[in-house]
Symmetry: C2
């Protein structure tokens, strides 16, 4: 590895990856990792365990790029022939490694089992390769170099693949951190349409032609995937500058970064302010409470929810007035407001948050078509807010969007970003 | 297409498929479709829009199998070169098709737009190919045959790809239905461990060596993926026989087939029996109600839910006795039973179903470790049931398993499969 490697192929081996249910997700992780090392992925492929197929795929991959990362086919069964195929192509032998063999046997013994005979195969190493000991499983990985090509073999089990990559491959492949890799950052936005975000960020986009930005939209939220090239430090500086410009353009609609979630951010604000919340849900049917309680420790601020599908439940459990229901309907701002106030009283929380709407497919009317949703928030400091939405899409999409909009309303209220409500 | 095609490659074209976020899901659909035609997928690959890459991938794919299905790269931009690459490899010209051109222009006009100049490219067809008119988009597909090889080009947008496949490609490729394809059926099981299912089905498995079965497990449910070879009719007969044997072995734990869901099956039973249900949830935090209301029309039988995280809410909203909470704890069968009875009273439903447990990561004790869950059901016909579970895994897994177990309890009660409760 004298000249820096700039391009790679990825090959996933396993007949299960050629069926109708399973995709090779390892390649997403590997692509991100390779990119931080300045290596771009030119192509990827999946192949079964057949001998001819393996030979053909490995040769093709090596003809396209100087680095090939292979996952899978390192197990103990007769099907697992990835190692043999690589050895064959590089004209290397497989040599039994006694140290690995005894390590394997010990691993089984520690679990009170004798090692099955088939597993001996996993102690055969490719002649002249770097053996990468597996910290979390039986199959070791390998790094083989020859004729200007590098092949990395990793187990297909994601946990083992990631552990081996992080502990063994990355340090071997990685030049020092001053190398020019691609580093990523994700900014998360809620409550805006994709087209509106695009309009706002156009100038930022134009001012940073070197740093490509990808927009992903889904479930009422938008992600900006930023990337920058350079050492970890250089890239972080560029990403900071980029993020600052995006925040200036988009504003506080950017609620978080990378692994942060809207429910996590709203929950953290509740905790910081010492507030509690209770929810009253109709069309979202519990999925808003489900999101809030996805967060470990949410019992510190989440007191509970009333899922009131039936009108009688809105009246009896939340104290919504029958005349409000009759005059304005169950799907109305008035009902939403009474639900929010009622659920706050019922649970004795600082904040009540409510949702009522028509998720479809049935139930729409000309005045209130499918996708009509009302949100309301009622706080013990006297603040009251209501909001009408008209959401596109099918039942699942409307429900998901509604939960995002409700969490955003809560977050913005806690940040003091709502104009004084009535 | 005189000799039947038995093997295929799939190639997905698009730089976005070589990033860190997006996988080619089209291949799962295409694999299933090809298999019903008796064609197995030998390999699949993803490549960007670069010219050399396209040529190399198409040649490699054709060297491995007589049929190649390509998705993506048929758009109007300069990046989209799939069509050119296939024409180049088969030494065919691209010819402007006036009929397609006027159709494209009309399509834009109907939306009140003039067709951009770049789109003209989409009217260039591969000489000597079958043009597959796109019923739902602008990019036509192609079927090209030469030198014993067949290449099918489809748009990458899943909706367009599927429409073109179903309306154009399948009839062209498909021999009549007496051909020997692979047909699939999925049986769904809830409430059993994977190892227990494997034990029960071993003899069935052994009795049908020709029909491979795959077991997939997740979220407290297990899927048996059956497949059988033959014409649609033959395969259906084999699958029926296989299904009957599996039902004999596994029993009524098989709750459904193919696209059926546990929440859908439980909901249908409630509807058939004219019963209504209300839920009291603690550790699942609304996700059980969320699953029940995922089903369109669930408002016919789902009255609502009380999500009572706080003990005070269990007392005030559900009438759980403070002495029960003190004596047995919030996570106990006694509390679960009072929650079920309370929520049934509160909502006036025929059935009350409750969940209380410790989803973690915190909150476990030696007597009640993380994963301890109690379910209870209370019916207006006097039946009462309680159940203790000890579930493995992390917070998300415990929550998901619990909702499956609760839906199964409800389904089994409605089927009269529970021994008389106390």
């Amino acid at each position: 590895m004298t000249a820096p490697i700039e391009a790679a192929s990825i090959l996933a081996v396993g007949s299960e990856l050629l069926g109708t249910t399973k995709l090779d997700t390892n390649s997403l992780f590997l692509t991100g990792e390779l990119e931080t090392l300045g290596i771009s992925v030119l192509r990827k492929a999946c192949v079964g365990d057949d001998w001819e197929g393996l030979l053909s795929e490995i040769s093709t991959a090596l003809s396209r790029a100087p680095l090939l990362v292979i996952t899978g086919g390192l197990g103990p069964t007769a099907d697992d022939r990835t190692k043999e195929a690589v050895a064959h192509i590089f004209d290397r032998r497989l040599l039994r490694d006694d140290e690995i063999l005894s390590r394997l046997k010990q691993r089984f013994l520690r679990r009170g089992m004798e090692m099955p005979k088939v597993n001996e195969k996993q102690a055969d190493v490719i002649e002249g390769s770097v053996v990468l000991h597996n910290p979390v499983g039986t199959a070791p990985g390998y790094l083989v170099e020859a004729a200007g090509k590098t092949v990395v073999l990793l187990p297909g089990v994601p946990r083992e693949m990631k552990a081996l990559w992080g502990e063994k491959v990355r340090p071997l492949l990685g030049r020092d951190t001053s190398a020019s890799g691609v580093h990523r950052r994700v900014l998360k936005i809620a409550g805006m349409a994709e087209s509106a975000v695009e309009e706002l960020i156009k100038p930022v986009y134009a001012a940073h032609p070197e740093e490509p930005v990808t927009i992903l939209a889904g479930g009422g939220e938008i992600e900006l995937h930023l990337s920058a090239r350079g050492s970890a430090e250089e890239a972080a500086r560029k990403l900071d500058a980029l993020e600052a410009d995006f925040r200036k353009a988009v504003g506080a609609e950017i609620y978080g970064r990378d692994t942060e979630t809207l429910e996590g951010v709203a929950g953290e604000l509740l905790r910081l302010k010492g507030k509690t919340v209770a929810l009253a849900e109709s069309c979202t049917g519990g999925t808003l409470a489900g999101r809030m309680t996805d967060v470990a420790g949410s019992s510190d601020y989440f007191l509970g929810a009333a899922i009131t599908y039936a009108n009688s439940a809105k009246v009896e459990m939340l104290g919504v007035s029958p005349s409000t229901l009759e005059k304005f309907g169950a799907v109305s701002e008035e009902t939403a407001r009474e639900m929010a106030a009622g659920v706050r009283r019922q649970f004795g929380s600082s904040i009540g948050l409510s949702v009522t709407g028509i998720a479809g497919p049935g139930g729409g009317t000309p005045e209130k078509p499918v996708g009509t949703v009302f949100l309301a928030l009622d706080s013990d400091d006297g603040a009251r807010h209501g909001k009408r939405l008209l959401l596109p899409g099918d039942r699942a999409m409307i429900r998901r969007w509604t939960t995002s909009a409700a969490l955003l309303l809560l977050r913005n209220f806690l940040l003091g970003r709502l104009s004084p409500g009535r």
